[in-house]
């Protein structure tokens, strides 16, 4: 499991870990039922505090990506990855709908809206 | 406690042999000065014991070994008890060393006696050297060392070597003064002639030796209880 942490990123480290593990799960590199390294082992390997890894795992757990079994460790949640992706897509749809409604009331044209989306995505890629 | 004693002796391994050589040198000086073998065992016992016990207290302070020891699963009581057991073993080692060295020197004296130059001197020395006297001297050495230990160990355990070594002469002076006063008092009392005559017999002498040893052991044990109380509150 490759996780790269950047000290110069504006995203907090626990967020970086969380999103990278999410990606690994979504792309299938981590399968349902796979065991994740313990909080302490991950902290050791990445040379960071265990509180950070704990926070990352807590967030992943609250989002439903992983489950922690007391005494055994943390595992990739079974079968939910698909459902969660569905959830994400639905949420993005509703947010985009909101943006479209705002654009209409604010007299912003479709083209302008699309340009804005492109701009945001571009800056995301840079950041 | 066993670990404490084992550790004490592991520290002293080199010194146990080294002290024999230095004692040998001092013994020759004492022997020539006093002209008698009787004093040798007592003197050697006390000297060997004092040298080695001081080594142990020096190790305690060096690099804060005593501080590290307290982080280990050994109680303060066991530390004190272990040190007392080590002290007792060192006294016995001193007595054995004293007897052995005396015998060695007597052997040398016998050899010297056959040389014309030293013959008279050696003969004079050997005249004061029957085995009863040597044995008595060794026991006296044991009793004396235990009494010294009874005063010294609580002081050292409470204060450590550096501070204790300053307090010690004062304590010894006090004890000596008390003993002298006691002696004065005893002299002033009517002499029990029968008792003195009895003491000069073999049985009487042995009884006296045993009595002195028992008193020393009792004082030694009492001193251990006091030391445990003192060490319990010590800041390290």
């Amino acid at each position: 499991m490759d996780i790269i942490i950047s000290n110069s990123s504006t995203v907090p480290i626990y967020g970086q870990i969380g999103s990278q593990i999410e990606t690994l799960i979504m792309t299938g590199q981590l399968q349902a039922g796979d065991r994740l390294p313990s909080i302490r082992a991950l902290a050791n390997d990445l040379r960071i505090s265990a509180i950070t890894t704990k926070r990352a795992y807590s967030e992943l757990e609250s989002k439903g990506f992983i489950e922690s079994v007391p005494g055994k460790g943390c595992f990739v949640a079974g079968g939910n990855a698909e459902l969660l992706r569905e959830q994400h897509l639905r949420r993005i749809e509703s947010l985009l709908q909101q943006a479209a409604d705002e654009a209409r009331t604010g007299n912003v044209s479709n083209r302008e809206l699309r340009d804005m989306v492109d701009l945001i995505l571009e800056s995301e890629d840079d950041g | 406690m066993k670990a404490m004693v084992a550790c004490d002796f592991a520290c002293l391994r080199g010194a146990l042999k080294g002290v024999l050589f230095s004692s040998l040198f001092v013994s020759v000086v004492v022997l020539v000065g006093m002209g008698s073998f009787y004093i040798l065992p007592a003197c050697l016992t006390a000297m060997v014991f004092l040298t080695l016990i001081n080594n142990l207290f020096a190790y305690d302070e060096l690099n804060d070994w005593q501080g590290l020891r307290l982080t280990m699963p050994i109680t303060r009581t066991q530390t004190v008890q272990g040190r007392y057991v080590s002290a007792l073993l060192l006294v016995l080692y001193g007595a054995v060393a004293g007897i052995v060295l005396t015998v060695v020197l007597m052997g040398i004296a016998v050899v010297v006696q056959s040389i014309p130059a030293g013959s008279a001197f050696a003969a004079g020395l050997l005249a004061n050297g029957d085995w009863q006297g040597i044995a008595l001297s060794a026991f006296a050495g044991i009793a004396l060392s235990m009494l010294i230990a009874a005063v010294m160990l609580p002081v050292m355990l409470r204060n450590g070597l550096t501070k204790g070594i300053r307090v010690l002469p004062v304590m010894f002076a006090l004890v000596v003064i008390m003993l002298l006063a006691l002696g004065q008092g005893v002299m002033q009392m009517p002499q029990p002639v029968g008792l003195i005559a009895w003491l000069q017999t073999d049985i009487g002498a042995i009884a006296a030796i045993l009595a002195i040893l028992v008193i020393s052991v009792v004082l030694f044990a009492a001193s251990c209880f006091i030391a445990i109380k003192l060490y319990a509150r010590r800041e390290l």
Partner: protein, 304 residues
Amino acid sequence: MDNLLAIRGLCKKYDGFALYDVDLTVPAGSVVGFIGTNGAGKTTTIKSALGATVPDGGSIELFGQDVQAMSESRSAELKQHVGAVFDACSFPSGMNVRAIASMMACLYGAWDATGFERRCAEFGLSSDKKVKELSRGMGMKLMLACALSHNASLLVLDEATAGLDPMARDEVLDTLRSFMVGECTSSADPGASCERGILISSHITSDLEKIADYIVCIDAGRIVFAVEKDAITETAGIARCRADQFARVREDATFGDMRFMTHSYGTDILVDDRFAFQESFPDITVDRATIDEYMSLRLKGGIR
């Protein structure tokens, strides 16, 4: 078990120095870094925790049990699960490694002789070496090997890495990391397993930045701050201001009291949330904080 070590309200008076109301906790599964200037009270606190000194006030709980309320032999039993490492090799100078190993075997029920030998081989310590023949770094490694070889739950290091070169320090940190990963049997409940913890007092804050989860700072006998290490190295920041920028920041009330220090080249301000600060003041340079700078500003900075 929640806390391996919990010191609350510790008070201890000496001539010319006193510990006052010191709180220090080592939660199970965490590494606590203990910092402070020389003479601030780090060693005194640690010694009180380990029973070398008798406190004047406060409570000390080791593995959840009040150390002052228990018998001597019970507290000695608890020490079976504690390993201590000091800055100088404290073993008697006349003993050799083998003799120390046999002494440890007598003292500790869970002494792991093969593990100790393995660690000695890793560190390059031969059995015949006497303590006085060891260099400072090797002496410390010997103490560390001993502390790691009896299944301890809590490791206490007092300035242990002070005499080591940077590569040796990294090795020690790796050893500490693998210590943390292992599990041990709990002292309170032999059937359960518990996580381990380390209390490490050090001047070498770069080591703490690499391994600590919490940072506790003591100054003149009082605890100045006790925070998550990430709060210092991740969230907090140092804003480097020119005079006019500093004036602007002073007027802004949203960030509350902030510590600052003025140098000849500008003013450094300690900010608790560098992201929020950078958003409000995009033109001001904000760097991540190091433990050293954070401590320096907290202890010596003026308050805006």
